[in-house]
């Protein structure tokens, strides 16, 4: 597969799968305000998905559109990182996953605003405004819950410890990532990772949470299409209608 197409699918699939997971919480949030926030973040991510997959479909040039890519690819063709397919779990798990994702997402979008690919730079410039707001909110909640009650602190620490092994895959660059860096499309990994870790350290410190070692062993494979069993269930629900009734419209 063309490296840039693969790279676009990664961006689109990350946003799409996380959006789908957040959508599952619509009507089930722990408070009305949180419910609305999760759904709105999901909506932003879905909008971003359309821009990424729309570009991917054009670049591929095989007559597929964004919907076809979203609803008619199987798990092995999905390129999202493993972090976004982790279960919603408790609200601590949901928010910690969001915070880890938002932090990485913010710095990646920041880098992509300077992409040599004009279309990618435009999508990033559109997205980063929304991502900035997401990160501000999730970081704020991590501090409030981490530095909250004994119970909320314990839940946040457990969530962080359990999600940590999924926080490194984004920085394990493979041939696709390297090709994108060489073409000036994507930012180099070193600065990206350092910014990510610095921001995490600052927020987690304020949240009185203990940051696990950045050198810990990290899970990998999502970017290359090797997913956990969970993605199949997520896709089964998300794709059911278009699989059962191909081309169905509102």
């Amino acid at each position: 597969m063309d490296a840039k197409l693969d790279y676009l699918l990664r961006q689109g699939d990350n946003a799409l799968i996380l959006s789908q997971q957040l959508c599952q919480l619509c009507g089930k949030g722990p408070a009305l305000e949180e419910d609305m926030a999760l759904s709105n973040v999901a909506l932003d991510l879905l909008g971003q998905t359309r821009m990424w997959l729309g570009y991917a479909a054009e670049l591929e040039g095989k007559g597929r559109d964004e919907d076809r890519l979203a609803f008619h690819r199987d798990a092995i063709d999905y390129r999202n990182c493993l972090l976004v397919e982790q279960p919603n779990g408790s609200y601590a798990d949901t928010m910690m996953r969001q915070f880890l994702f938002d932090t990485w997402h913010y710095f990646l979008m920041d880098g992509l605003t300077r992409s040599s690919d004009v279309r990618i730079a435009e999508i990033a410039q559109k997205s980063i405004k929304e991502v900035t707001y997401h990160l501000r909110r999730s970081g704020d909640l991590v501090v409030r819950l981490g530095d909250g009650t004994d119970i909320s602190h314990a839940k946040m620490q457990t969530a962080l410890d359990e999600l940590w092994m999924y926080s490194g895959e984004m920085f394990l660059y493979d041939a696709v990532d390297h090709a994108m860096v060489e073409q000036g499309v994507a930012p180099a990994v070193d600065g990206l990772r350092q910014n990510f870790l610095d921001h995490l350290a600052e927020v987690l410190n304020e949240a009185t949470l203990k940051m696990p070692s950045p050198d810990a062993w990290m899970q990998r494979g999502g970017k290359q299409g090797r997913h956990s069993e969970r993605l199949g269930y997520i896709l089964a629900e998300m794709q059911f209608l278009q699989r059962a009734y191909p081309g169905a419209q509102w």
């Binding site: 609305m36 926030a37 909506l43 971003q48 920041d110 997205s127 707001y133 501000r136």
Partner: protein, 170 residues
């Protein structure tokens, strides 16, 4: 009707009467969504830009623009969606901001959201002072970072106790 019969200024003025589907007191022109109007032969080309990337109102806005122009006899209309430069609340007109306030929605108080970096208070809410659209009091409090649409947050007035929408800086 052909292009020769209609001026671009006339089209802009018609579009100024097309209401935003979510906030009907503000037009799509005052909101800054319409970026350009041009004629290509007999085709009237209207360029619009999304507010938030996932804003579900865009399709309705696109249809409303076509309907409004058709009502004035312009039946050959093409809508183009343009991504860059990204929409910002800075493009909202003063008339639009006044209309929002009159409708009970506090208009954006600052310049566009600061994406410059973490040191600019990305995490700590650089909580802007939002005045109550009802009584004008600056003693207000954020109750929810998101409201009924992605472009709004929920506030409450600590003086007159009115809960209200705030159109976020973006």
């Amino acid at each position: 009707m052909t292009a020769l019969d209609v001026s671009i200024e006339q089209v802009w003025s018609w579009l100024g009467e097309v209401a935003d589907p979510e906030i009907p007191v503000i037009s799509v022109v005052d909101l800054g969504i319409v970026r350009d109007v041009a004629f290509e032969g007999d085709t009237c080309v209207v360029t619009i830009t999304p507010t938030y990337s996932g804003c579900p109102a865009m399709q309705v806005i696109s249809d409303s623009v076509k309907e409004a122009l058709l009502a004035h006899g312009v039946d050959d209309v093409r809508i183009v969606s343009r991504l860059a430069p990204a929409w910002t609340t800075d493009w909202m007109s003063d008339a639009g901001k006044a209309a929002l306030k009159g409708y009970g929605i506090a208009p954006p108080v600052q310049q566009a959201i600061d994406i410059s970096g973490l040191h600019a208070g990305i995490r700590r809410r650089a909580a802007p002072e939002v005045s109550c659209p009802v009584c004008g009091s600056p003693h207000t409090q954020l109750t929810s970072e998101f409201g009924s649409t992605p472009c709004k947050a929920l506030y409450k007035c600590l003086d007159c106790r009115e809960p209200f929408d705030y159109f976020k800086c973006h």
